[in-house]
């Protein structure tokens, strides 16, 4: 039997690829909370996210023997989950006769939760998650995959079935929309402060000292 402690995911994946079923099961047990979290972000509700998790691991199981280990196991799973989520969202929007771009998240928004009850970082997080849920699904997918899960543009474009250029356009549009939701117009949504440290980061390193002197 496999040890109960988590083995490095790459070893589990390699063993699973050789037909070790208990290794695959351990892989599911270990990685599914993260895959489920991604699915929730992408499809917006627990029911659809559960379906996405199911499909993700079925596909992973079918192709695990071809997993080469040149990408992280989690990245590989996240890509599959992104593709499954995209299929799911397309199917859902067709069922509603609504184009994907217009589809808003159907989960409840939580912006109106009592601000006194959640403070600091958890308040920022709650506001951010709520803003993400308000994005059209097509924009949210790209922002989540790029800015949260750090997938390359190429991977995102491939899994969503769009061009790299389209993925970038959606990413930038999604970021702008989030910025408007979080900081506009009076910036009451987010706590003030803590931003000054960042302002020189855009400037190339050689010029940073000059920038600070300005």
């Amino acid at each position: 039997m496999a040890p109960a402690t988590a083995e490095p995911l790459a070893e589990l994946a390699a063993a699973a690829g050789r037909g070790d079923r208990s290794a695959f099961e351990q892989l599911v047990v270990t990685t599914s909370p993260g895959v489920y979290a991604l699915a929730i972000r992408l499809v917006g509700n627990e029911h659809d996210a559960s379906d996405v998790v199911q499909e993700t691991y079925l596909r992973a199981f079918r192709s695990i023997d071809r997993f080469r280990g040149d990408a992280a196991v989690t990245t590989w799973l996240y890509r599959i989950a992104a593709n499954c989520s995209s299929t799911h969202l397309t199917r859902r929007s067709k069922a509603r006769h609504a184009p994907l771009d217009d589809e808003m998240a159907i989960v409840e928004t939580r912006l109106d939760r009592d601000p006194e009850a959640v403070v600091g970082a958890s308040y920022d997080r709650a506001v951010l998650v709520s803003a993400l849920e308000r994005l059209p699904a097509s924009l949210r997918a790209v922002v989540v995959l790029r800015d949260v899960y750090d997938l390359p543009h190429e991977a995102i474009a491939a899994e969503l079935g769009i061009s790299r250029a389209a993925a970038k356009v959606r990413l930038h549009r999604g970021r702008r929309r989030l910025r408007e939701l979080l900081f506009s117009p009076t910036e009451l949504a987010m706590r003030p402060g803590g931003i000054d440290a960042d302002v020189t980061e855009l400037i190339p390193k050689g010029r940073a000292s000059h920038a600070r002197a300005v």
């Binding site: 351990q26 599911v28 909370p33 993260g34 996210a49 998790v53 800015d147 910025r179 803590g194």
Partner: protein
Amino acid sequence: MHAPCDRLAELMPALVDGDEAASPVELSHVEGCLRCQAELARYRRLARLLAQLKHEREELPPGLVCDVLASVERVARRGAASSGSRRRAVFVAGLTATVTLGGLGLALASRARPLVSRGRRSAAGL
């Protein structure tokens, strides 16, 4: 009018992580413009907050892991049947025990349902 600021505000979602590069003229404007620096800082803060979500884990709905493993079992069984692989068939037969043991490691046992009791239908039609 704030023409450079407005143009840079449009570009900012692409500039913030280097998807696009600002021209030298635009860069030097940002260096001297508090308004643009504040806007950039908002995008930086947004990026930081988004990145923090990566490590979040959601507690799975009860039974989901078992449902996933049951679906995998069905697929494997079908594969074993079609390939006629005896070794795999024997392996599949031992699945129920392994699932239970795997679940124990992450304290899933208390929530785990009997593997064979309920077949959650996957949207993939499997």
